[in-house]
């Protein structure tokens, strides 16, 4: 394992600990879907994106839209660890005085590029950001992180058609494909699968990867960046609750608060205090 991958792995481990701690303290939140997206977000923010924590509104920065806004504890932890704001903010999640809203708010939290939480809208907002980059002749990338369940929303496919039409090579969507949604397994709720042929049919540059392999995530982003004529989508297979064994396969952890004992067990599973 290269040093870079080792570093990302360690960061993701700490972020996962942050996530379960924050949700325990807040007494509310979505641990399962936050944990599945940690590696994707860590690879982006620590390994890919051109950003400046001292200048969160830097016009040339790469943008990231967390369309699955309910996974924001993971993003908040990453932004804090990058220095967009203090780590001391994390325990305030979802409390009245905190800058950390239950779902991301671009005006309250430094480093959040888009208000989100109402599912399915991220790619469409990304469409606008990528078009703005073209109009203003800026070279940034726009990354959109969506869940798979939210692809059931119609506006997703409206945006995919438009992004293909406008040949937005700098729009890169990563699907956190954990195969679960609020009410249960995606394939028990909708006819979304098979997903890859649908994405291909919409004319995007498509890749399929292991969403918990930093090598595959980083490599797929590189390949997506190399594609200039088409928007890119990376179908990243993930596991809801990744890193915390007792949360895996139990969809009650979509939205559930770990008790004191469960928190201890989760932290232990995540390598404890090394």
């Amino acid at each position: 394992m290269s040093d870079r991958i080792k570093e990302l792995t360690e960061t993701a481990r700490l972020v996962r600990q942050d996530v379960v701690r924050m949700i325990h303290l807040a007494g509310d939140g979505h641990p399962g879907p936050s944990l599945s997206v940690v590696d994707i977000l860590t690879a982006l923010y620590f390994g890919t994106m051109r950003i400046d924590p001292k200048n969160p509104k830097w016009p040339e920065r790469d943008r990231c839209i967390l369309s699955k806004g309910h996974a924001c504890p993971a993003l908040y932890a990453i932004l804090a660890r990058l220095g967009f704001f203090s780590l001391d903010e994390l325990p305030g999640l979802r409390s009245l005085e905190s800058m950390l809203q239950g779902h991301p708010d671009m005006n309250k939290t430094p480093g959040i590029d888009t208000t989100s939480g109402s599912l399915g809208n991220g790619i469409s907002i990304g469409l606008g950001m990528a078009l703005a980059g073209r109009i203003k002749n800026r070279k940034y990338y726009t990354y959109v992180i969506t869940g798979d369940g939210e692809l059931e929303e119609g506006v997703v496919w409206e945006a995919m058609m438009a992004a293909k039409h406008y040949r937005l090579g700098r729009l890169i969507t990563i699907i956190d494909n954990n195969e679960m949604q609020s009410g249960g397994p995606v394939d028990k709720i909708s006819g979304l699968y098979p997903l890859l042929p649908k994405l291909q049919a919409f004319g995007w540059h498509c890749q399929e990867i292991d969403g918990h392999s930093f090598v595959e995530i980083l490599d797929s982003i590189k390949q997506a960046q190399a594609e200039e004529e088409r928007p890119s989508v990376i179908l990243a297979h993930t596991v809801k609750g990744q890193g915390v064994p007792f949360m895996i396969g139990d969809n009650s952890w979509h939205k559930r608060v770990p008790t004191e004992g469960e928190l201890k067990e989760a932290i232990r599973a995540l390598g404890g205090d090394r």
């Binding site: 016009p59 943008r63 708010d105 671009m106 005006n107 590029d113 888009t114 208000t115 939480g117 109402s118 809208n121 469409s124 907002i125 990304g126 469409l127 606008g128 950001m129 990528a130 078009l131 703005a132 980059g133 073209r134 109009i135 203003k136 726009t142 119609g154 506006v155 409206e158 945006a159 058609m161 438009a162 039409h165 406008y166």
Partner: protein, 316 residues
Amino acid sequence: MKQENTRIAVTETLMELASKDPEIVLVCSDSLLVIKAKPYVDKYPQRFIDVGIAEQNAVCCAAGLASCGLIPFVATYAGFITMRACEQVRTFVAYPGLNVKMIGANGGIAAGEREGVTHQFFEDLGILRTIPGITIVVPADAGQVREAVKAVAYTAGPAYIRIGSGRDPVVFEKPLRFELGKVRILREQGTDVALFANGFILPRVLAAAEELSLQGIQATVVEVHTLKPLDVETITEVLSKTGAAVTAEDHNIIGGLGSALAEVIAEHRPVPLVRVGLRDIYPRSGRPEKLLDYYNMGVSDIVAAARKAIQKKAKR
């Protein structure tokens, strides 16, 4: 009655703004022909985006554009913005306070182009009024649409301008100065009653004031072109003078100007109020003037409403 197309007024004003300001962008949802935007597209192809028949996508796309510093105007039918894409307007434009400007065509039943209910929009203002942070403008004619477009373009934050069918009566022969957020007193001949109105129904209200004058009743006519933020101060002053009020609007009787005035009256200056508007029913297709008469928004209805309000005042 002389007409001028409010849709062309939007496009021409956008072209004027775009010639000076590289941040102006037009976003359509296959609505290019609706707002007669061909000349704009020919001149500024890089700053025209058509997302197809997909209004939710148009609104979110505009949010993305605005968050990167552009000034997008989303233009299509009023109901497709305010109803089909309502949640996108609320959560991704209004909540973050993004600089997205929305243009809604076919505002009101008279502007429905005889298309029937699917294209007659009489709920747009009520819906948007309940969403925090949106400036709402209901101009009376094409000249005022031009002024309103310029005014909202350089007022930070979300805004909505209601426009018509393209066969829109000219209300003001000479261009009038437009002040966003202020009412305009059009006629102040007496203090018997105040007639509050906005939009393309305004000529009827002015005609009603004339008619009332012949009957010995002197009315003040107030144009409330900015429905939000509402000029509560001036409205309250007028109410204090007249002690009776009528509202007239081409909108459902619930949620629009009548409701806004009722709120001001109840909280600031209780006086009798009679509302003229669509009485919470679905209208039919028809020629605009006939429709307004048929659905109780005729000159005689406004006159009757004024007499009723004055009667109520006398009984107090």
